[in-house]
Amino acid sequence: MSAPVSSSAVLEPASRAQPSLRLRCCLPHPAQPWLWDPPQRRHGSLEATWPSLRRTSAPGANCHGPHQLFAQFLYVGGSERLRRNRAPRRSCGQKEFAPDGSAEQDERLRLCLEEQWRQLAEERVERPENLVKAVWKPEQGIVELESPAGKFWHTMGFSERGKQCLLPEEALYLLECGSLQLFYKDVPMSVQEAYEILLSQEAMSLLHYQVFSHLKQLGYIVLRFNPSTVLSSCERQLNLESRCKSSGKHHHKRRRSSSPGSREKKHKVSEDLPKAEGTCEKGGHDCGELSCVPLDEKPLSEQLKELDTGNGEEQSVTSNSVPLDTGRKNVPGPSWSLGTGDQKASSTGTHAPRWDFTTIFLPNVAPDQPCIHLPSPDNKLLPENVPGREVDAASWCRRVNQKQEKLLQKEREQQEKESKYKSSINFDREVRCCINWQEYKALLRWRSQQRVWRQPPHLWGQAVTPLLQPEEATSFAAVRQQISVLQPSHILDGASRLQEDLESIKIDFNVYQADAVAKFKKTNPGKPYVRMCVQSFDEQVPSLRALKQVTYQSGDVPVVFALADHGEIAFYSLKEFKLPVDANY
């Protein structure tokens, strides 16, 4: 990593530096003794140059007790850093873990604090032309740039009415990085003021900013989550998303069209409307058809299954109509070809299958149909890279010895021995007395009942009996099947009906991976890597209900919970899981 502050920075005598550029180190408000999280690490050089300004936790008026101890973590910065051209080491030696009451420790801490004050008191100097000027607009809650944006524009900011703007958290981050100079009422803001003013809004609390800043420092691209991108349940059911993409592509070119791969819909409402209309027109009959599906949850997979089985029936009907002489050698079997059905026309339906199954014939491979000739399949039905060819096994059949196997003496004895342990039901006298299936089944039933009544009545003679019927326990798989009574659930089951009364928990950020920066486009950010919910460490773990809500909103992007605790941030995710059945007995 190169020098954090570019070497081109001219070190002017303090007296000549503009007063406004003396970014005073500011103390947090006494009423809010924040433990500031100093930007510690930085990977890559994505944004503006690394701050020469280092903030520290405030050794305020109440600098006794544990606060002193934390002072050990402080970082030196400023001119020392410039001189040494590398990250300064902590100068205070070993970390103190608890006050031991000794004068020695007090002295060490005092020295440490003193040094810190010294460092903080140093003036940070920046070239005025390196700073982007910006103005805080409290009415809109945004920051408007007055001079052209720097490199950060690639991943931050937005344009409105021809102006370059920043969200408060972005402006504050850039301010801390030393690449922005923020004015409010024509007076430059200090970092402390910026913290107080920019983070006073509902949307962006200190907690949120800490998470934002943490992720930014690691190189992630962090955008605010826009709830309007959440698909409605109707859209989901119709699977509009994919259709939107294709229809958008073909029909009207948007100024900022999202690529087909994107699942984000970062459009303004005005743009959304015509698109929605377009899809409604397109899938008109489907809308009608699906509207009868009750909106309250039917998992998508289930619906698909229904569609599938529907098609399956069709298919089986057609395959029944396949001529029965398929297998005969000289009669060519039905080809694997697509029918003449207009595939394109059928694909306009929302859930129309890719193939028209009524026109696809499958060879009859029933065991009584010796199938030795398979015509070459239609290439359209095959995946790419998979060649299909005709198969004629007739020549093989001639070469294979199909005579009955002749057993050795030993083998025959073995077989006889084994057969001793097997008994035919025909030797069962009671079975032989049965003259038809009905009687035989009645006999079986009677026998099984006999066995049940051999079970003790305190278990079997009650209203609630054991789940397992001993006579049905033919294998362990069967046992497992009989005792499996609890139904598995899916994280999205019932989630759509929860969207009306959203709880306090909401998604805050879309996060994109650091290595995606090169390809990243603000206008078309694509699918985020994860979405973040910011919470305090003291809060309760969200209920299943809240989890379902955020998961539903997030779609197929994983949700991560960012937990901030006085500047320390931990991330956890609660992922859906299905424990596989262990059938390997």
Binding site: L218, G219, P456, H458, L459, Q462, A463, V464, T465, P466, L467, L468, P470, A473, T474, S475, F476, A478, V479, R480, I483, S484, V485, L486, Q487, P488, S489, D493, Q513, A514, D515, Y529, F537, D538, Q540, V541, S543, L544, R545, S554, G555, D556, P558, V559, V560, L563, I569, A570, F571, Y572, S573, L574, K575, E576, F577, K578, L579, P580, V581, D582
Partner: protein, 446 residues
């Protein structure tokens, strides 16, 4: 929403046993056997050695009350056994110190029963005097016969039902059973088991013949006792320092070879026997009864019905319904759930069984209503969850939250029977820490 990936369970490096079956019911129905358990002071205990073995080996149900997991407690000192390998006496060997300890226990037990110290000493002296063990030496048939005659004599003096036990014992060519002792066992067992289960007190069957004589009554489980002899043998070999006077009394040819070592084995009766039983967790017991129907839980002599058990267990353990649902769900998926107390959770999930794999998941079960809310048994803050996750991950397990979702129209009456399970849905979640510095780029994943 991406699903959490399944991580294959980790095999244990050394496996000393082979896998028998996932459930104690035979596949094919042929091997069906009813096991018996007793409800003793809110816990479920299996006593019959066959049942213990069956339930533990096939599905790893329960734990031995004197062992960490598998019921393998043995009084015998393994180092002494290997030392006296050549003797081949088929009896447990213990040190003299250990034996004296047992005598002490018996003494205090007798004193508790109200005997004065004089008679206690006398009783014990008589009971623990060294015995010859001729019946174990095959060449000495004469003595063997004599011993069984002895037994017969004693039988005649005891009440009717004991005959069976003793005859059985002598028929097996084993040690003569003192019927009085056997009787005492049965009289005292329930109380003692109670104690053991409750306070994990290891004091068990204190078999002091005198105390029992007075109490002599009908004997129902003499067969059980005869069988359980293997687990808590009446006769033990005590390794003692050689003393001149004792040496003369111990005339066994076998022993004289060992005398060079100045140590010998003396056969004595164990005055204080301890039985290893299998204790089933409430979930395990209910599963065996309700799901498999292969266990009957008795309260006293009365077999309990499924509904009764559901009621009793829910009373004993308020969270029983929730934990049982989770238990049942995972069992029916072929996993072996065990108590997760050591990891601060409800269940641990093993593949196949604890001897084969390390536990893969540590599970917290919660019952929620149709709105996916409800008063949680264990409301977790992120703080406690991260602590729990850390301990779990450090033990190479994953933390799983198992939500049991009951439909909104499920009433209390419906919950009062285990049939409510059929309407419960289960949602599993895996908790993972997301490490921000590691997820920066795609390459890091590879």
């Amino acid at each position: 929403m991406a699903e959490a990936a399944f991580r294959p369970p980790r095999r244990k490096r050394r496996v000393f046993e082979c896998y028998q079956a996932p459930f104690p019911v035979g596949a094919g129905g042929g091997d069906f056997r009813m096991c018996r358990a007793d409800m003793v002071n809110n816990s479920v205990v299996v006593r019959s050695p066959e049942d213990v073995e069956r339930l533990y080996n096939k599905g790893y149900f329960g734990k031995g009350i004197l062992s960490r997991s598998r019921p393998v407690y043995s009084i015998s000192d393994p180092s002494l056994v290997s030392k006296w390998q050549g003797t081949n006496l088929n009896m447990p060997i213990i040190t003299s110190k250990k034996y004296q300890q047992r005598v002490q226990w018996a003494k205090s037990a007798l004193q508790e029963q109200g005997f004065d110290s004089c008679s206690v000493t006398k009783i014990l002296e008589n009971y623990t005097r060294p015995l010859e063990f001729p019946f174990l030496e095959k060449e000495n048939t004469e003595l063997s016969r004599q011993s069984s005659i002895d037994t017969g004599n004693m039988v005649t003096s005891s009440p009717e039902p004991q005959k069976e036990v003793c005859q059985k014992a002598s028929a097996e060519g084993d040690l003569a059973t003192d019927p009085v002792v056997a009787l005492g066992t049965e009289e005292q067992q329930p109380a003692v088991v109670k104690e053991a289960a409750q306070a994990s007190c290891q004091k068990h069957g204190s078999h002091v013949h005198c105390g029992c004589k007075a109490k002599g009554g009908p004997e129902q489980e003499s067969c059980n006792v005869a069988k359980s002899r293997e687990r808590a043998p009446e006769y033990v070999l005590v390794q003692e320092e050689e003393e001149g006077s004792l040496c003369l009394e111990e005339g066994s040819a076998h022993e004289q070879e060992k005398f060079v070592k100045k140590e010998k084995l003396v056969c004595r009766r164990n005055p204080f026997r301890i039985f290893e039983y299998l204790q089933l967790s409430l979930e395990e017991a209910f599963f065996l009864v309700y799901a498999l129907g292969c266990l009957t839980v008795y309260y006293g002599e009365e077999p309990l019905t499924i509904l009764k058990l559901w009621e009793i267990f829910s009373e004993v353990k308020p969270s029983f319904k929730t934990t049982y649902m989770a238990y049942h769900y995972f069992r029916s998926k072929g996993w072996v759930p065990k108590v997760g107390l050591k990891y601060g959770t409800d269940l641990l999930l093993y593949r196949k069984g604890p001897p084969f794999y390390h536990a893969s998941y540590s599970v917290i079960a919660e019952l929620v209503d149709d709105n996916f809310e409800g008063s949680l048994r264990r409301p977790l803050s992120w703080m406690s969850l991260s602590g729990l996750n850390r301990t779990t991950v450090n033990a190479s397990k994953e933390l799983m939250l198992c939500y049991l979702i009951k439909p909104s129209d499920m009433t209390e009456e419906e919950m009062a029977t285990p049939e409510c399970l059929k309407r419960i849905k289960v949602q599993e979640l895996i908790v993972t820490r997301w490490v921000s510095s590691r997820e920066r780029s795609e390459q890091d994943d590879l």
